[in-house]
């Protein structure tokens, strides 16, 4: 990881000094364990703020949409796929971005790490040789990194950036033999009633803070459907019906565009596993259209494309 940091800073310094970009989007070290903060660096003498570690789960492509000028961005595999989606959807032009590709071995799940501390407060976290060492008050843990990856990272098969201008690290081996849809099958095997209860329990703590939506790179509508008033589609209270509507419809709106970056689950302040909605649609899109979001630079998402061979009967 140290080599990544060196490479990111070196590239940032060079790009800013040569004025090839106006700013570099990366992460700076967080103020609490398991967190880092996205940062916009504008001056070459500020690039030493930039860092990289296993707590960079937030998708930086979220900060690219409609951005003027030229910007460099550090992008993991999933982030780079979201950049492709942005390009397909005209949210930014290719010549505006300089992509610093960061091959990724998975990001750590801050919630699982916190839970492992069993109520004691972590003060610091270090990582080497595949182990994570957490220290705090009355707290010292030595954990296996692989056991604490974010859920989406554990099953990721696109760890290397699919688009980049330069890489800040060596490409990593892609995971093979990964079951990407175990969760989906588990839910599909439930009865209707069980499924209803499962999802109701899942979103019961939802505060309608919209962190999941706002951290998502493909949720960029100037007025989200939950904020429309003429007509008003969704109530704004925490009524379970309205909360269901929000989560179900958002999953549909990102279908075929979601890259399973896991930022939504990471952002949620109450730990809702919102990917339980999006994974199903991701699997369906794959089955129906053979499509994965953001892999091919000129292949539009299936739900905004019509092709004569499309299976839907109603459109024939």
């Amino acid at each position: 990881m140290h080599t990544y940091i060196e490479a990111i800073r070196k590239a940032a310094r060079r790009l800013l000094t040569e004025k090839r970009v106006d700013a570099v989007i990366g992460f700076r070290k967080g103020t609490i364990p398991f967190m880092n903060e996205p940062v916009l660096v504008k001056h070459p003498d500020q690039v030493d703020q930039l860092t990289w570690d296993s707590h960079c789960g937030i998708n930086l492509a979220n900060y690219l949409g409609q951005r003027p000028g030229k910007v460099a961005v550090v992008a993991k595999g999933c982030d780079s796929r979201n950049i492709v989606v942005h390009l397909l959807e005209n949210q930014i032009q290719r010549d505006q971005i300089y992509i610093l590709g960061a091959p990724c071995k998975g990001m750590l799940d801050r919630r699982r790490l916190t839970a492992e501390c069993r109520g004691r407060e972590p003060h610091s976290v270090e990582e080497f040789d595949g182990r994570i060492r957490i220290k705090g008050r009355d707290l010292e843990l030595d954990l296996e990194r692989r056991a604490f990856l974010q859920d989406n990272c554990a099953i990721c098969i696109h760890r290397n950036p699919v688009i980049h201008d330069e890489l800040v690290g060596e490409p990593v081996a892609e995971q093979t033999g990964v079951d990407r849809y175990e969760d989906v099958r588990r839910v599909e095997q439930m009865t209707s009633e069980e499924r209803w209860q499962y999802f109701d329990d899942l979103i019961a703590p939802c505060l309608r803070c919209y962190a999941c939506r706002n951290v998502c790179p493909v949720c960029y509508c100037p007025t989200c459907f939950v904020d429309e008033s003429k007509p008003q589609w969704v109530g704004k209270s925490v009524d379970p019906t309205d909360t269901r509507t929000f989560h179900l419809l958002r999953a549909y709106h990102v279908a075929g565009r979601c890259t399973d970056c896991g930022s939504c689950e990471r952002a949620c302040p109450v730990g809702i596993k919102v990917r339980q909605f999006t994974k199903k649609l991701e699997r369906d899109i794959l089955d129906l259209y053979g499509y994965e979001a953001g892999l091919i630079a000129d292949q539009r998402p299936p739900l905004d494309t019509y092709r004569p061979g499309d299976p839907e009967g109603f459109i024939k």
Binding site: E37, Y210, P269
Partner: protein
Amino acid sequence: MKEAYLAKDKLLPLVGLLMARYRVAAPVAVGDYHQFQILTQPEQLDLTYRNTRLSPKDLFHPQSEKLFRFSTAADDPDANILKEVERDQGPRLVFGIRPCDARALRLVDVNFDTADCQDPWWVERRRNTLLVGLGCTAPCATCFCSAVGSGPFDPGGLDLVLTELADGYAVAAASERGEALLADLDLLSALDQDRAAAAAEVQKTAAGTVARPFDPTPLGDKAMTELFQSPFWEEVAFSCINCGTCTFLCPTCWCFDIQDEVQKDAGVRLRNWDSCMFPLFTLHGSGHNPRQQKPQRVRQRFMHKFKYYIDKYGDGPACVGCGRCVQFCPVNIDIRQVVALMTARCVCPA
């Protein structure tokens, strides 16, 4: 009676006693976190917590609350006339609230309980609820209550304060209602000198461990427009995703929206928590939005808590240093850093 002692083995029986007289809200373990809930059994109580994820403000200001009902039926003589929704305003007691959260309720009182206008629901609930606080023996690294005028055993805002000792709790009255309650409770014994000294020691140690990441004095001194026009807001706002996490978890955020919802012939007017982080918050019907840009909204939150509130009410900031926003902001915007920027005597250009 001003102080007493509660042995640990008397804790649950005491809670049971209180539950016979009040609806008791207390921290309950829910998954990996704790939450204030109305207890149905004393055993639900779990005081082995640092703080709840959601603040107890929703006991006084529920996230969604029906205010009025009305009918829209054409043949109803009372159609379109609002009627207040019945609610149970019976006596309640919050057991195990942290001093920061109790102080937060005081800070919010000035908004809902004014000389010429009272929010009837907030005011009633505050009047009907006793607050029994559990002071913080081991404040978190993210706490900064002492920097904003509070402290881990701050009695202001509480009726009783508990200090955890080896085998029980020192109980101190912090208000007249607290004194009356103490006098009226069985299962307590007298607080002997040793235990009183031990409690004082615990409190002193705790106060010494709370970080003070900034000195709030410059906030009062600096001009409002000077802070407003400071150059660092763009930088502070960059990572913000304008979600409602900080505002919803914050014990001193009170902003709300009023919405009408109708199903067939029956409607309700309800209020929901709202957030200055949302663009819709200040959107005019004409389409004009005074806070169209993200940095303007981010600036509003910090300016409100650490400048406008100070100037308007002459009290400290509208923040109790509970640290929830620090722990839960999805992008790790750290309020301690932002306020340090606001209080800095000299801000170096980015």
